[in-house]
């Protein structure tokens, strides 16, 4: 289990123990964390699972694929250097304690 903190658009935060190998999107939506829509269920086609990764630890997360970068161009909320699609980030032990912030809107 990898501990990840999700900060919802309302500002409230939820700590989840995410099974290794699960995507952060999957952990968030099955546990009812607000603000991630994930219309495509993790197929990397919808860009509605946009999150901001703790900028301090951005380098520890595997970099985005070309597909993900292209989708990030079209996210609804502000695109920032630490923008990622949460369905493309897999929980690994290195990410323990990571904080993920969810933007105001996805669609």
């Amino acid at each position: 289990m990898v501990q990840i903190t999700f900060v919802e658009p309302s500002g409230s935060s939820t700590e989840l123990n995410v099974p290794e190998g699960w995507s952060l999107m999957q952990a968030a939506v099955t546990n009812g964390v607000d603000g991630i829509v994930a219309e495509c269920g993790g197929s990397c086609v919808c860009a509605t699972c946009h999150v901001y990764v703790d900028p301090e630890r951005l380098a520890e997360v595997l970099p985005p694929s070309e597909d993900e970068i292209e989708l990030l161009d079209g996210v609804k909320a502000e695109r920032r250097p630490n923008s990622r699609l949460s369905c493309q980030i897999k929980a690994t032990p290195e990410l323990a304690g990571l904080t993920i912030t969810i933007p105001e809107c996805q669609t």
Partner: protein
């Protein structure tokens, strides 16, 4: 409790029904919400059923959309395995299979759709499978294992999205595949001829066989569990597993029986309102009347989610029309297709990128305006299309034709 305590009943616990329940809660509705679904599972994703689920690349947790505990926490009374058998509009109640009655103050119909079946005698039993539910997918997955063991092919009837995805999944598993298509090309209604041909090449290059203009004359289950399919031209195919993907029929029977207006789907406006007061509908079971009077039926996750949200808000008295650009996707082999907009009625088409390669987009225009874009491994074009279609400025045919023109400059600020 009095009759008028707010109680919203949602029939159908798929994408649309779930979205509606959660939208009600997140918009401060604090009355009762009952979410009734006749399947034994909490809401799950259907798109993977023809894709990664068949190739065993997903765990069951990844199929589920929400954990039941989340629904409990949100005080959504989710009941699995419960079928609604009638709506009593006068009495404002629904009748459950088994005889119980449930009174509502607002009702949402999100009953989805049912795969069409072939009319042939032999197609009735297990000889020809269809794919809609998790159980359907699990039976198909078993059938594929059987095909692999007995070295028998999969026959897919219908070269639409679901059929072609199943074909691609089977090829990934090394199973021989033949697709029987009644039309002269794949996805005739959705694709231009050149894109149909491109997809045909894709399947051929992965070793699938394609048969066009296929008229099925008869279907027979053989005693050893195989299925023989005979075409009108005399050709005959033996399948270890036969699956039909020939479209769906919207589940509008409940609404029809209650006198709610239907026309191959429950008729709704752009907020999901039906012809009956306090009854809304969303998702695959609906058909939308557009402002120009034409009817639009969409079968997509986006439509279910956005319509589910709009319909829930309508029940709360807020009209927030669903106007987003429609979009859809399909995964076959390593090819990601994303479609933005609706290409029906297009009068010209422009290819951007290189169709001999594996990344390009087809831009569809009507009367000089961009109405749809089909992107093949070109997520950037797709995202851009979703932002500019239906907006104030449309690119011109010349601009799209010019590879040096940067389409991003047209994005609404």
């Amino acid at each position: 409790m009095t009759q008028s305590d707010p109680h919203i009943v949602i029939v159908g616990a798929g994408q649309a029904g779930l979205q509606a329940a959660e939208t009600l809660r997140s918009n401060a509705f604090d009355g009762r919400i009952t979410l009734l679904g006749n399947e034994p599972h909490p809401p799950y994703h259907r798109p993977p059923l023809s894709k990664a689920w068949l190739t065993d690349e997903l765990n069951p947790g990844q199929l589920s959309i929400r954990d039941v505990s989340v629904l409990e926490r949100k005080n959504i009374d989710f009941r699995a395995g419960v079928r609604v058998s009638a709506i009593d509009i006068e009495d404002r109640s629904v009748l459950l299979h088994g005889g119980d009655r449930l009174a509502y103050t607002g009702l949402m119909l999100a009953t989805g759709a049912t795969p069409r079946r072939l009319p042939h005698n032999g197609a009735a039993g297990d000889a020809i499978r269809v794919l809609r539910s998790r159980e359907d997918a699990d039976r198909i997955a078993l059938g594929l294992k059987d095909c692999a063991e007995r070295e028998l092919p999969l026959i897919v009837i219908g070269g639409g999205f679901i059929g072609l995805e199943i074909a691609a999944s089977a090829r990934k598993l090394g199973i021989a595949v033949t697709v029987l298509e009644a039309a002269p090309r794949l996805l005739e209604r959705a694709f231009t001829r050149e894109l149909s041909d491109w997809y045909a090449q894709l399947h051929l290059s992965h070793g699938a066989h394609l048969v066009f203009d296929a008229r099925i004359a008869s279907i027979d289950a053989t005693s050893d569990g195989a299925t023989t399919i005979q075409l009108a031209d005399g050709r005959s195919f033996v399948a270890g597993l036969a699956v039909a993907g020939i479209g769906v029929r919207p589940n509008d029977e409940l609404a029809q029986a209650a006198g709610i207006a239907c026309d191959n789907g429950i008729l709704v406006d752009d907020c999901g309102c039906t012809s009956a007061p306090n009854i809304v509908a969303a998702g695959d079971c609906t058909v939308r009347r557009l402002s120009d009077g034409t009817l639009l039926r969409l079968e997509s996750v986006q439509n279910a989610v956005e319509q589910g949200r709009a319909a829930a808000l309508a029940l709360l008295g807020t009209r927030k029309p669903f106007v987003a650009t429609p979009w859809f996707w399909s995964d076959q082999y390593d090819i990601k297709l994303q479609i933005a907009g609706l290409s029906r009625g297009a009068d010209s088409h422009v290819v951007r990128g290189d169709m001999t390669g594996h990344s390009f987009s087809i831009f569809h225009f009507r009367a000089g305006r961009l109405i749809a874009v089909d992107s093949i491994n070109a997520a950037k074009d797709h995202m851009l299309a979703r932002q500019i279609i239906g907006g104030e400025v449309s690119p011109t045919v010349e601009q799209v034709n010019d590879p040096s023109f940067n389409l991003a400059t047209l994005r609404a600020k």
